[in-house]
Amino acid sequence: MGISITIISITTVVFGIAALVISSRARKRLTPGALRSYIDNFSVCLAFIVLFTIWQAIRSLIGSNIRVTGLAEYPEYIFIIFAYISFIITSYRVLMISKEYGFKEDGIRIEEIIKSRKK
């Protein structure tokens, strides 16, 4: 049971770090602007989740020999709280980007003008 949890933890950490590396590579290709700031925010969220997972993985590794309770749980909570705060900021940024870059209403208006001309 302990070994399988350790394997899952390590795999999750590897996936998290891989996701961070991919985001960083994506960021390098972009010029400064809204899209890059979004990736920055997303990376912060991801980083906190990865930190949370790393901490859990360490705890599960150490926990198999030594029982660590109490204080050791606090960083977990801090990481997850910051992760969710970052998610809120990132979601708000996405909302702003959609307000700026969303042209759906303009498209509908244009189609209506063209349709009314054809009648």
């Binding site: 290709r29 972009l30 010029t31 400064p32 602007g33 809204a34 899209l35 890059r36 307000k99 700026e100 870059y101 969303g102 042209f103 759906k104 303009d106 498209g107 509908i108 208006r109 244009i110 189609e111 003008i113 063209i114 001309r117």
Partner: protein, 191 residues
């Protein structure tokens, strides 16, 4: 409405024929720039009567609106992506049919904006007009502009739009033009 110069009209007619989707590189000299730009807009909005996306790196949005209105074109048919106004005026809020991109260096944002704007118009005939390539190369390196244009041309083909990329012919260095010309369906030189 101003009349289109016979040379540009004939060249366009000859090359475009009945096509609705193509990518054209329009090379003009500095003297003809204004007239050619207005002519192209007259052709797209007046003669062909198609909506589209205008990416401006030279003229601010308010001047373009004034220009189009004075030529009796419906400005509601165009979505503007303005990469110049914020250089002078600072931060600008989005207006109805125009998105202000900070500077012409923000190519990623520009690309996302073009993609969103084109896809919002779900009609068979649409245009994408990039004005102009040489201004873009003033703010970015030649390689980056060439790569951006290559990506944009590829997307224009996917979107099936009438794509027009305008640039001013330089006296000496035309490396960028030589790189870009093969991507396009045809090139019109107005000397």
């Amino acid at each position: 409405m101003t009349r289109m110069s016979p040379t540009l009209r004939d060249n366009l007619k000859k090359e475009v024929k009945d096509l609705t989707d193509y990518v054209s590189l329009l090379v003009v000299n500095a003297k003809n720039y204004q007239k050619s730009r207005v002519d192209i807009l007259n052709y797209l909005l007046g003669t062909k009567k198609i909506p589209g996306v205008y990416i401006t790196l030279n003229k601010p949005y308010d001047i373009l609106i004034r220009e189009l209105s004075s030529n009796k074109h419906d400005t509601n048919l165009v979505i503007f992506i303005d990469c110049i106004t914020m250089l002078k005026a600072g931060k600008m809020a989005r207006v109805q049919n125009c998105l202000f991109i900070g500077t012409p260096e923000k190519l990623s944002d520009m690309f996302v904006a073009i993609d969103q704007a084109v896809n919002s118009i779900s009609l068979n005939e649409r245009f994408v007009f990039l004005d102009s390539l040489n201004t873009m190369s003033m703010f970015n390196s030649g390689d980056i502009v060439a790569r951006f244009t290559h990506q944009l041309v590829a997307r224009m083909r996917n979107w099936k739009v009438a794509g027009i990329i305008m640039t001013i012919q330089k006296e000496k260095d035309d490396t960028l033009l030589n790189e870009i010309t093969p991507f396009c369906d045809f090139r019109i030189d107005l000397k």
